[in-house]
Amino acid sequence: MIEFEGVTKRYPDGTVAVEDLSLKVETGRITVFVGPSGCGKTTALRMINRMIQPTSGRILIDGDDVTSRPDADLRRGIGYVIQGAGLFPHRTVLDNVATVPVLQGVSRREARASARELLERVGLSANLGDRYPSQLSGGQQQRVGVARALAADPPVLLMDEPFSAVDPVVRDDLQQELLRLQGDLGKTIVLVTHDIDEAIRLGDKVAVFAQGARLAQYAAPADLLAVPADDFVSSLVGRDRGFRGLGFADGAEIALKPVGHTVDGLTLELDADGRPVGWRGPDGLLPTEGTFSDGANLRTITDLVILSPAGAAVRVDEHGRADGLVLVEDLAGRVRTQQRERLAALTQDQVEEAEAG
């Protein structure tokens, strides 16, 4: 666990980047610091590995004050990924990844061997290892940056706008890759971004920062969307937050209609194996516009319902065979109860929190 205890950073010219920040970052989770530029989120992150020294307050990692160790030692035990990766241009990709192990005294040979494995782990072919950073694309460089941060297997990973310098398609890949990696590794990750969508997508918990690193809200992404704490958070979260919030709601509880059900004069037509072909009606065959399977969230299902000519989303099993329909009425019923349940859960949390401390 990483704890901020009344941390303040004031610069000699009087500007206050972070004012009296207290916050607990949970172990093994992704915590995202999000906020507008200049809100102090990066300063807060960089105080964790003492790239910036706090003016007052303490930061503890698993109970130990970060000032209790020499800076360089502390940093070798904390992965650090920055925007644009910050790779060393004069070293090959492998040597970049091997940096921290070598600093820690591992032999270069050994460090390179494990660096090669790490490259594959972050989705790069190991034969890129002998190239120089300038020969890689931005997305590849960023992956190398992540591999470098993971090389010494640190329990904590700090990521400062790690995906801001790449185009949206690559960013999407990298985000997926991070979630996949985190599924395997379970690191304590603190990630800074100005992109609220990225925060919502990646964060187990999201800390919304206002100017001076005032903590406007610290909550799970779904709660952030459902119940923004104030106008600042709600304007940062932006439009369509109800719809986006459906992405965190499980679609399993919706009542299903049988596949043979006729909707508004349209019937789902199946091929010989039971896979959906289209909606058969008086005007011929209309497209299904996609299907969903078990585990899909309400946002995906809602989208399918909207796009379907029958106003019904088709569920398929693992073989792609249609096994049920979600009708717009049934979806509406589920959406109606969804927000009430969330509010009730939030209140329950608050009650428990109050009792606990």
Partner: protein
């Protein structure tokens, strides 16, 4: 113009005290001595100023001031103050060589992207590791460029050693002028010019060997940047 003197085999005798081989060695000796002292003084200071960012004005102003100082004047001043010999000549040449080495070392270190230094610090390098393992290798093309520049100026200017009664290639120039033997002057000038070009090529070769392919663009399929010949920020004297 007459190339007789240059092409006369007798002047290329290895044993003759005023033959070309001997004079070239003397010339290289003055040059190497001055460059070594200048590098020992200027490189650490440039590195320190570049790494800490403190004293940048000193580096810049010293570079400018050095450019404005006429070396002949400095030599005369030293001869007048110290007397005849290797010491005043070396001081004058060192004064000439320090500014380009200092200024380019400083500029090279400053040119290393902030994010790279930030990343180095972030992965847990100490300040001296950042300087030696990250900043110097990345700045090396610029630093060697400064050294090339300094060496050009020192090689050219080491002719003044002869003016101060020492040897080197300047002997042919001044002796030839004094005795109106123009072919001797031409010979000296040609050998001097060729020597300067050769030294620059040797240093350019060293640059290729020492600089990481990832830094100078050889490692890149598509990067046209950074691979440039040494910047002539100051001129020969």
């Amino acid at each position: 113009m007459s190339l007789d003197y240059l092409l006369d085999a007798a002047n290329w005798s290895l044993t003759s005290p005023d033959g070309f081989p001997q004079r070239i060695l003397e010339h290289l000796g003055y040059t190497a001595l001055a460059l070594a002292i200048a590098a020992l003084v200027a490189f650490p200071i440039g590195l320190l100023i570049g790494h800490t960012g403190r004293g940048a004005l000193i580096a810049i102003n010293l570079g400018n001031a050095g450019r404005a100082l006429p070396t002949l004047g400095v030599l005369m001043l030293m001869l007048a103050l110290v007397g005849i010999g290797l010491v005043p000549v070396t001081i004058a040449l060192v004064v000439l060589a320090i500014p380009p080495i200092l200024a380019t070392t400083y500029a090279g270190i400053r040119s290393v992207p902030d994010e790279t230094v930030d990343a180095a610090r972030g992965v847990g390098m100490t300040e001296s590791q950042i300087a030696w393992r990250v900043e110097v290798p990345i700045a090396l093309p610029i630093i060697i460029g400064g050294l090339r520049n300094a060496s050009l100026q020192v090689v050219s200017t080491a002719t003044i050693a002869a003016y101060a009664g020492l040897g080197g290639l300047g002997r042919y120039l001044f002796d030839g002028l004094a005795t109106l033997q123009y072919d001797q002057v031409v010979a000296g000038a040609v050998v001097l010019a060729v020597l300067a070009v050769v030294i620059d090529l040797v240093l350019a070769g060293a640059q290729r060997l020492l600089v990481s392919p990832g830094v100078d663009g050889r490692g890149a399929d598509n990067s046209p940047t950074t691979n440039r010949p040494a910047e002539p920020i100051s001129s020969t004297a």
